[in-house]
Symmetry: C2
Subunit: 191 residues, 2 copies
């Protein structure tokens, strides 16, 4: 059994925790206060990108050796026209550089919370979680947790693919705010 | 009635031409030889990215004033690990810069040819064509042609969104070559 610690209790953290629990694994919700320890082997940073830096700074030693899951879409929310990370990089790459002792994965950023909770995209297609990362065992552990919870999960490749995953998340958000896709729908992956 | 000229007669050009004709519009297939004129108001460059530069060079004057549709996924096909265009740009941006008198759109690059021909993604979801561009009338003309042909089409925003569309195409190709999605399936957009 895997213990997954989730920092952040918004829609995304709650939905991801639901999947973890549905698979018979243990979920631990942790507040943003760094005095509260994390016990999971997998730690999901279920907070907006601007909140990540402070959590990393405060918890760097706690997170050493752990699998750290970045779910963010690092949009410039003022312009809604670009990302705030380097064009040739990603939020995940920034986080991995800041946490050299952790095994960083990118996941869940292409899924709206409602599609994780319902396990379908718009009621029409099964939800698929795309996972990227350089540590194969870390990636397999997360893929297993998601699949155990009844949600499709696909290995999207190396952590460098986070750049593309963040582009998908960005595009999907722009379509949702323009009401071209619903917040319970969006991008589905058909095998 | 709109005339659409398609340069390139591979799977993509054939599938796009099928949609044009299905909508009661006129399709004209044009070889790569620049001596053959293009008469369409919309010209689809249905060739791989490396072939685009020569076509542009040879047909720059012919393409002036026309709507030019870039469908390419500019992958580095040796490494399959990056794009060959600037990280903060896109093939569409490169093409638009090379064709300042044309109205350049990005479209069809997130659709595998078989999903355009079948009008479904893996038989499961209707195919959706994402279209980006800065000229609203040009974009509307292409959206109308695609919808008339019985395929969903969504305005994905300004031409700068081509960067994200090319990331989607890149990611989808990496998943297909690894057999994680079929060439008749892939990314579907659920409204």
């Amino acid at each position: 059994m895997t213990t997954v610690s989730i920092i952040g209790n918004g829609n995304m953290g709650t939905a991801i925790g639901g999947i973890v629990a549905a698979g018979g694994n243990t979920v631990e919700y942790v507040g943003r206060d760094a005095a509260e320890p994390v016990s999971g082997d997998i730690v999901v940073l279920a907070v907006p990108y601007p909140a990540v830096a402070e959590i990393i700074e405060a918890r760097r030693e706690q997170l050493a050796g752990k699998v750290v899951v970045d779910i963010t879409n690092p949009l410039n929310f003022e312009t809604f026209d670009s990302l705030v990370v380097p064009a040739d990089g990603s939020a995940a790459a920034v986080i991995a550089a800041a946490l050299p002792e952790s095994r960083v994965l990118k996941a869940f950023n292409t899924n709206f919370a409602a599609t994780l909770a319902a396990k379908t995209v718009g009621g029409a297609q099964p939800t698929t979680v795309l996972v990227a990362g350089d540590d194969e065992l870390a990636k397999r552990a997360l893929l297993d947790v998601v699949r155990a919870g009844g949600v499709n999960a696909v290995d999207a490749g190396a952590l460098s693919r986070a750049r593309e995953l963040e582009s998908v998340g960005f595009l999907q958000l722009t379509l949702a705010v323009q009401e071209k896709v619903g917040w319970n729908a969006g991008v589905a992956l058909v095998a």
